[in-house]
């Protein structure tokens, strides 16, 4: 983040302004990615008019960065109408797509409409691996063709790769592909539970050994020793800081109008079909509850060695049952990164230790 953007973000935080919002236009999709957390059936998406009205409310509320995502955004027949309206309202528009439906004409239109950037999911440089994840034969070929169309229009593209057991060995290939295409590349080792709470897809996540390899890869993390070092004890300022931007300067709106603190934080705070966006943002009890949390308020994590360096996601913690609690997936990452177990991991070991101690007491008494 640039210094100026950080300043604007700080200002938005101080003024309670939702600087950045992701709107999922649909959960329908033309791919069936094995790790996807969404229900792809349409349960009553917002209409064109409803989304336009929402955009007007968001502009009024001060939203600057508007991310359109899904599902697959190009499955909405009104996609370009919505995009045109978003740009008319002078949002900085970012897109997340699999790009399968983008050809020369669509790429040129995206350029004309002044889209800021497009994030495209690519899981491998090998069709047999990528297509086995999307479950759509030929999808890698089409997504890569789209990236070339977009680049030829001078648009900014980022490849987003999710690291899983099925593509673990291919991330260097994806990085090389990104370099060849002249685009950025991100790698995320987090598999998110289904929105209904089903955690079965977490079995697709890479194991600790693979994660360790990633955290030691200098092409990803820079100085691996520095990246894997144990952080200094948390300062007072750190403990008084917010966990992340969710509910503070950012939020998420589903295709059905439900507002959440983040796409990965399924705590419903209101619905824009019933309330004004700004009223949900400002006055929702749940949003304000999320907003009230500081690192010092976290159960377990406050006493953890990793509290100042952990990637703890409040949404993942919420999905585990407590938004003030730890996120086990992030505990595991901190452990793999540094070799030091988190406070959460240690607390889970403690009952066994207590049991041993209870058993020894009678023995001592008998002696």
């Amino acid at each position: 983040m640039s210094q100026l953007m950080q300043e604007m973000s700080d200002k938005a935080l101080a003024r309670n302004i939702p600087l950045s919002v992701q709107v999922d236009l649909t959960y329908r999709c033309n791919e069936r990615c094995v790790h996807c957390y969404l229900d792809h059936n349409d349960h009553g998406e917002m209409t064109t008019a409803e989304i336009k009205h929402l955009m007007e409310e968001m502009a009024e509320a001060g939203v600057f960065i508007l991310t359109f995502s899904g599902g697959e955004i190009f499955l909405r027949k009104d996609f370009f109408e919505l995009l045109e309206y978003a740009r008319h309202l002078t949002f900085c528009v970012k897109l997340k797509t699999n790009a399968v439906l983008i050809r020369e004409r669509e790429a040129a239109r995206l350029r004309d409409l002044g889209v800021e950037s497009i994030q495209i999911s690519i899981y491998s440089h090998r069709p047999e691996v990528h297509d086995a994840i999307t479950l759509v034969p030929g999808s890698l070929k089409r997504s890569l063709a789209a990236i070339r169309f977009l680049k030829s229009q001078g648009l900014k593209v980022t490849i987003a790769n999710v690291l899983m057991t099925g593509n673990m060995q291919d991330y260097p290939g994806v990085q090389a592909l990104a370099a060849e295409l002249g685009v950025k590349c991100t790698l995320d080792p987090t598999v998110t539970p289904m929105m209904d709470g089903d955690r079965s897809i977490l079995k697709l996540a890479v194991d600790q050994s693979a994660l360790r390899q990633v955290f030691r890869d200098q092409s990803l993390v820079g100085d691996a020793d520095e990246f894997c070092a144990i952080a200094a004890p948390a300062s007072e300022d750190t403990l008084n800081s917010i966990p992340c931007s969710a509910g503070h300067t950012a939020c998420y709106v589903s295709p059905y109008g439900d507002v959440f603190p983040c796409v990965q934080f399924p705590l419903p705070t209101g619905n824009v079909r019933q309330q004004r966006f700004i009223d949900i943002w400002r006055y929702s009890d749940r949003m304000n509850d999320v907003r009230s949390i500081r690192l010092k308020d976290l159960t377990t994590c406050t006493s953890c060695t990793h509290v100042s360096s952990c990637t703890r996601c409040p949404g993942l913690a919420f999905m585990e049952g407590n938004m003030r609690g730890p996120s086990s997936q992030d505990c595991e990452k901190s452990f793999v990164r540094t070799g030091v177990p988190s406070a959460n991991m240690l607390s889970k070991q403690r009952p066994a230790a207590n049991l041993v101690q209870i058993q020894t007491l009678p023995a001592l008494a008998m002696a």
Binding site: S2, M5, M8, I17, G62, F64, T90, C92
Partner: protein, 106 residues
């Protein structure tokens, strides 16, 4: 002497954050914040009002500045914003069909 017309570049993104105008260049995503004078210029840049009129009607009354000096400063500022593709400049009125709103709903 020819007059200068200014219009907001439709490729730029803009929003007023508590009175401070944030603009993102459509060319390279560089973020700018505009000071009070630049904000007035941005808000007034409809493509059809000549720059000297914007200066006379909007800037001079606000800042109590000599009109000639204000016009020169405004022209320099407009050229600087045009260099970053935030604004468009022309010696003839600029087609306003695609001229976006100023992004200052707040």
């Amino acid at each position: 002497m020819s007059r200068l017309y200014v219009a907001r570049n439709p490729r730029a993104a803009a929003r007023s954050l508590d009175g401070e105008m944030m603009i993102m260049s459509g060319r390279d995503s560089t973020l700018f914040t505009l000071n009070r004078t630049a904000t007035i210029l941005w808000q007034s840049a409809d493509g059809t009002t000549p720059l000297d009129e914007i200066v006379a009607r909007r800037i001079c009354p606000e800042f109590e500045v000599e009109p000639g000096v204000a016009l020169q400063d405004a022209e320099n500022l407009a050229r600087e914003l045009a260099r970053h593709e935030i604004m468009q400049l022309s010696e003839t009125p600029i087609e306003t069909k695609r001229n976006p709103p100023a992004g200052d709903a707040r």
